[in-house]
Amino acid sequence: MNTANETERSDIEELLPWLAAGTLDHRDTRRVEAALAEDPELARRYELVREELGETIHLNETLGAPSARAMDALFAKIDAEPARKPVVSLNLGARIGEFFASFSPRTLAWSASAAALAIVLQAAIIGGVLLKEKDTGGYETASAPTTVSGEGSYVLIQFQPQANAGAITNFLETNKLSIAGGPSAGGIYRVRVAAKKLAKPDLDRVVKELQHNTVVGFVAVTE
């Protein structure tokens, strides 16, 4: 590998943590993914990054939450503050946001309903055209057919930000998975991997297998 290539590889390696966390822009994401596809050693190091990501999330999630004392202390201090005069925000984004937020839920619901109706009509027209062209046997989504009860074994999955709906659906179908909840903060879904409770070694094996799928950003065992 020549010096220019080494510099490029080193630049790309530095970006791996942000690729794993899903916070790279599209241009860098494409650049890093292309390098990963060509460079097995870089791909191996990316697996190390994903391990770190999973354990950092695990560690932080075990830190707990502050007691109500923090909020009580805050509002006691706020109550002790002098009253203030209303100010006009200079932030255009916030003002636009405030404009929409100022609508009543009913107004917004009607607007949303009108928009949804337009989308449904559009989908019906497109669907009609497609049905004329092709007689399909129908399909079902990966998560829809079964009612997910509390029984079974579950994992937490964060999909790669660039993974599209088709790839995720295919992944769920292929691995016989059902989305049981989410997304929670950070885009993490609770996914059922088996209808019965698996032993920990079996569940660990399933997690390990799922980790290798390209649509998966992060996967961890959950209760």
Binding site: P17, W18, T23, E55, N60, L74, G93, A94, A101, P105
Partner: protein, 186 residues
């Protein structure tokens, strides 16, 4: 379901809306608490700090210009307050806490077990990193901050963010190696 954006809440807080403050607090206090706790390593201190952080938000909301996400702004304030508090501590206090926080690696049954449990060992090593390295790993992996956002929170150039993250990860690998876990990198 309609969710009021953080920016809208800040605008309302600037006008003295206590309810907006409650919503913003409910939305972000756990993340800010965990970020601060990892720096100061004391739950009571971390709780005191987060009420100070959100009090600053109450006072400064009118000056927020929306050039960064509200969560980034919150973490910037939190970091500043945590580091200021750490600087105020006497060296004796720091020495006592450091002695309590750093585990003895020799002949510790926990370490022997950790060799078998790589995840547990890595979490222990993450806790042993310096504040500088710990905060950047947390910001990138847990708080999902981009290079630009980390640069804004920590107050360093973007290129330094990338190299600091690299060296933090390298240090993590070295700590793991000391525990008998060789990742084959660096």
């Amino acid at each position: 379901m309609q969710t009021t954006s953080d920016e809208v809440l800040i605008g309302r807080i600037a006008n003295g809306d206590r309810l907006a403050m409650q919503v913003l607090f409910a939305r972000h206090h756990v993340g800010v608490y965990r970020f601060v706790l990892r720096l100061v390593r004391n739950e009571a201190t971390a709780e005191d700090l987060i009420s100070d952080v959100f009090l600053d938000v109450w006072r400064q909301a009118g000056k927020f210009e929306g050039r960064s996400a509200v969560s980034t702004w919150l973490l910037s304030i939190a970091r500043f307050k945590a580091l200021s508090m750490l600087r105020r501590r006497t060296e004796d206090e720091l020495d006592d806490e450091a002695a309590g926080a750093i585990e003895d690696h020799s002949d510790d049954p926990e370490v022997a077990l950790a060799k078998k449990d790589k995840g547990k060992a890595m979490r222990q090593c993450l806790s042993e990193l310096s504040n500088e390295h710990r905060e950047i790993i947390d910001l990138v992996y847990y708080h999902e901050k981009s290079v630009e956002e980390v640069a804004a929170i920590v107050g360093i150039p973007e290129a330094t963010v990338k190299t600091r993250m690299f060296y933090a990860r390298k240090k993590l690998s070295e700590l793991l190696k000391e525990r008998g876990i060789d990742r084959g990198w660096p």
